[in-house]
Chain length 161, copies 2
DNA sequence: CGGCGAAATTACGACCGTGTGAGTGTGGAT
DNA sequence: ATCCACACTCACACGGTCGTAATTTCGCCG
C-alpha cells in the first residue's frame, strides 16, 4: 500500500514522548536540559517552545528508562551513553547492551556473554535491546495508532492486518 | 592461661574492614547506622565502643562495593540484600548473583543465565561471587597476614583456578 | 478573519537521599 | 590513670526529583 503523510513526520511532543517511554515529564525535561537526550527534531528555544523527539530518541529514552528501573544510577547511564551513542547503530533490534563498570559493549550471542562473565571481575549489566524496541512500538500503536507507520520501517516477520 | 594477641578470632575492626573492602570509613559507618550491614561479632554500643566485623561481613560489604562500582544505586542494593541475606548461604564462592530489577537470584550455570536473558524484559545485573571472595582474600593476606587463617576455614569449591 | 481563553510546555526553586567533614566524648588497652 | 582509636552528632555539598509559577502556542467562537 502507498505511503501516507498522516502526521507521522511531525515527531513526538514532549508529553507524548514521556507517555510512550513511561517516564515523567519532569524527567524528560531534566534529561534534555542536562544534555542526556536532546530532541533530534526540534530543541527548546525559550519558554513556550516545543521539543520534537524522533523515533530514535524514543528508543534511547526507553533504554535509559530500563537502566534506571534496574537500579542503575543516572550518572552511570550518562557515561554509558557518552560512549555508546556512536555505536548505537542499525542493529538496535537484536544486540545486547553489556556494561561492565566503565566499559560498554554490544554483544550478539550468548556465548560471547558467558565469555565476558568468566573474565570479568565486577558486575555485568545486560540489556536485550530487542525488548526495548518491542515495548516502544507496542506503546506507540496502543496510544497513538496514527504514528504506527513510524515503527513499520523495520522489517518484521509476521504479517499484520 | 595467657591470652595472647591472637587477633584471628577477634574479627575485623572498623578501620581494617574499610581498608580490606576498599571503602571509606565514613561509608562503613553510614551503612552500619542505616542498617545496611551491621557487624555480626560486635555492634556499636555507644560512643567509644568498637564494631567487630566477621569474615562473612567482609564478603557482603565487598559485594555491595562491587554493585556500587558498577553504577547501581544504594537503594537498589538495600532491596537486594533485604531479599538476598537469607539466600547468601554456603556457596558464596561459585554462584552468580543476578538482579533483574526487583528480584534477585543465585545462578550457578551459564545456561541458566542465558535462559533468564531470553525471558527477561529489562536489565540483568550479573555479579560472579567467586571473584568477590578472591579479592577479599587477597586483600586480607596482603594487608594482615595474621588473619590468613580466617579465609582458609570457609569451604571453597574444589579445584578452582 | 482576528482576538480571547485554556491547555501545554519551559523555567525556577524547594526538597530528599547519599555521602563527607569537623568536632566531641567515651571506652578499651597499656 | 593515660592515651588513642572509634562511635556519635551536627552541618553541609551534590546530584537528582518533584511541585509550582510563568510564558507561549493553539483551538474556538463571534
Amino acid at each position: 500500500m502507498g505511503a501516507h503523510h498522516t502526521g507521522s513526520e511531525a515527531g513526538f511532543s514532549g508529553k507524548r514522548t514521556a507517555e510512550i517511554v513511561d517516564i515523567t515529564y519532569r524527567q524528560l525535561d531534566y534529561w534534555a536540559r542536562t544534555d542526556l537526550v536532546r530532541p533530534s527534531l526540534a530543541d527548546a528555544s525559550g519558554s513556550g517552545s516545543r521539543r520534537q523527539y524522533s523515533y530514535r530518541d524514543l528508543l534511547e529514552l526507553k533504554v535509559i528508562k530500563s537502566l534506571l528501573d534496574s537500579g542503575i544510577r543516572l550518572e552511570q547511564v550518562r557515561k554509558v551513553f557518552a560512549y555508546m551513542r556512536n555505536h548505537l547503530g542499525e542493529d538496535v533490534a537484536s544486540a545486547n547492551l553489556v556494561i561492565d563498570g566503565s566499559n560498554s559493549v554490544l554483544v550478539n550471542t550468548g556465548e560471547e556473554l558467558i565469555d565476558l562473565l568468566q573474565n570479568g571481575q565486577g558486575v555485568l549489566n545486560v540489556l536485550p535491546l530487542a525488548g526495548v524496541k518491542d515495548e516502544v512500538d507496542a506503546r506507540i500503536v496502543s496510544l497513538y495508532p496514527d504514528m504506527a507507520d513510524v515503527v513499520a520501517d523495520v522489517p518484521r516477520a509476521a504479517g499484520d492486518a
